[in-house]
């Protein structure tokens, strides 16, 4: 009987220590809390870190698709977290977002709907807070899709697009052109001749608008090109998700299932350039000068077409597709100045 009592006590204590939950405890200068938004089969975590007592929330819309927001919860947003609350949202079938059978729901309109819910919940949870979007790469496409829909933009004080792919066809054609121009220039200079010749040869004979496979190969060369130009990222692919198993599942779904492939192929024609005029809120566009994946032409396109009274495009001369990693201080300076102006 003594054993039974001891065992029950040990079990109770173990459950008490391991089963606790982080609840929202109000605004804080050093918040670290989580909530979830569940929608159409996907349970998406939103981890809020930093200074929520500022009543300013920056919502990270990560790239990918399929990557995760954990990648941004490092030094890239350290100063932003000191000053503001930063919400790290994992999109459906990305990061630690979970669910049972949901891959068939993966589509851009569904993800835009998810983002609508996330912003609504943020506004409810942090009542009176100013919300800014921080959209990177694929997140740029998702954010523009959200902003041009209905009156969604009225929920926000402004948005920041960092190397955002709001126009995939333009991004693909510009990527090819930039790769070919740079390849020729680097070959003439005698830098990485064999590597650049391979890229030049492929890009000269393949149109990224013709098939998804060609577009993917050119994107792969675009990442290589950054390395050849001496742009070194500090992060690795292993940091994309907190749990590598989640990342395996997400990538498997995207690249090895018909639903994932259909989704990726549908993005190849996604283009919001002709609707950017609808966006009236302040816009800050930050671009790496050596971004071969979503080239500076796409940023220029944003500047031309956005309907915002305030819009600013900043190029970072020592960056590729991830200026927040390679020129962190300058990127954060721009973001802080932007938020302080429009909060």
């Amino acid at each position: 009987m003594r054993y039974v009592h001891t065992s029950i006590s040990v079990l109770f204590l173990a459950f008490l220590f391991t089963g606790c939950k982080k609840e929202f405890t109000g605004l804080s200068s050093n918040a670290n809390e989580i909530f979830w938004v569940t929608n159409k089969g996907a349970d998406m975590p939103v981890r809020v870190m930093g200074n929520t007592s500022s009543k300013i929330i920056i919502l990270i819309i990560h790239g990918g698709p399929g990557d995760g927001s954990y990648d941004y919860a490092n030094y890239e947003t350290k100063r932003l977290r000191d000053k503001y609350g930063v919400a790290f949202w994992d999109q459906r079938n990305a990061g630690a977002a979970s669910g049972t059978n949901n891959i068939d729901k993966l589509s851009l309109p569904q993800m835009i709907n998810d983002l609508e819910l996330v912003v609504k919940v943020l506004k409810l949870r942090y009542q009176g807070a100013d919300v800014f979007l921080y959209a990177h790469s694929f997140g740029g496409l998702l954010a523009t899709g959200y902003l041009v829909k209905d009156s969604n933009q009225n929920q926000l004080n402004g948005w920041i697009e960092i190397d955002g792919a709001h126009n995939y066809p333009l991004s693909n054609t510009s990527s090819r052109k930039m790769l070919m121009d740079t390849a020729q220039s680097e070959i003439n200079k005698g830098n990485n001749i064999l590597q650049w010749q391979k890229i030049l040869s492929y890009c000269s004979s393949h149109d990224p608008l013709s098939t998804y496979e060609i577009s993917s190969q050119i994107e792969s060369y675009a990442h290589d090109a950054e390395n050849y130009m001496g742009i070194e990222r500090k992060n690795s692919i292993l940091t994309l998700a907190e749990d590598p198993s989640d990342q395996l599942v997400n990538y498997y779904n995207l690249f090895y299932t018909s639903s994932g492939n259909d989704f990726l192929q549908s993005l190849e024609s996604a283009n919001y350039s002709d609707q950017l005029y609808k966006i009236k809120i302040p816009s800050l566009l930050l671009w790496g000068q050596f971004d071969f994946t979503v080239p500076p032409d796409v940023g220029e396109d944003g500047m031309t077409n956005l309907g915002s009274a305030y819009k600013k495009l900043v190029f970072f001369p020592h960056s590729g597709h991830h200026p927040m990693e390679t020129e962190t201080d300058l990127v954060e300076d721009e973001i802080i100045a932007f938020i302080e102006t429009f909060k």
Partner: protein
């Protein structure tokens, strides 16, 4: 002529195997383990295993006990979820000395997650509502291999230290399966012996 072939055979080494069937007393175990699930989850589990068969090899003195097991566990992924798991398993225990045995077990179970923090959903009228204790139910399948060492160097060992690595899958997770690698450590307790059917294998050599 009939005796020629057996006579030739006698020139070589011959092994004859005979198998007896009987009943034997084998132990029921209880165990309690702390769990670490990569990369950062932790929890505990308790379980029991019941023998239902045994194989004994007389020459090597090795014993193989077949058992079924049931395990209840809980683990927590910080800033993620808390999960409760119930597993049923079938396995083989290899006993090579009174101080040490190992177990290989295949298990199948059910897992229920409950997310950390509040969970929000929008209803059909566009209102945000909070869901209490929201989570998902998954199936689990996996293998574990446990190593057990007696805590006392005597024949009547009751307590064993157990170390149990395991690999298991949770599914359907985002329409696929999520792999887990876990390491469990704790103690197992030899509760009592019960009668099981034993098959003894005797080898005779010439």
């Amino acid at each position: 002529m009939k005796s020629v072939l057996p006579s030739i055979c006698l020139l070589f080494s011959i092994t004859l195997a005979a198998q007896d069937s009987a009943h034997i007393q084998r132990p029921v175990f209880l165990y309690g383990l702390a769990t670490y699930d990569l990369p950062k989850s932790y929890g505990f589990s308790i379980g029991t295993s019941f023998p239902f068969g045994s194989k004994i090899k007389n020459l090597t003195s090795s014993e193989k006990d077949e058992f079924v097991s049931a395990e209840f566990g809980e683990y927590r992924h910080p800033y993620g979820y808390t999960s409760i798991i119930f597993n049923a398993g079938i396995g083989i225990r290899y006993v090579r000395s009174p101080q040490h045995f190992t177990e290989l077990c295949f298990h199948q179970g059910v897992m229920r997650t409950v997310y950390d923090g509040k969970v929000y959903e929008i209803d059909q009228y566009g209102n945000i509502k909070e869901l209490r204790f929201f989570g998902r139910t998954y199936l689990t399948t996996g293998f574990s291999y446990s190593l057990n060492w007696a805590l006392h160097n005597r024949n009547q060992n009751l307590w064993f230290v157990q170390l149990k690595p395991s690999a298991w899958a949770q599914y359907p997770y985002n329409s696929f399966l999520k792999l887990h690698l876990s390491l469990q450590a704790g103690v197992s307790y030899r509760l009592k012996n019960i009668n099981v059917r034993s098959r003894s294998k005797h080898n005779y050599s010439s």
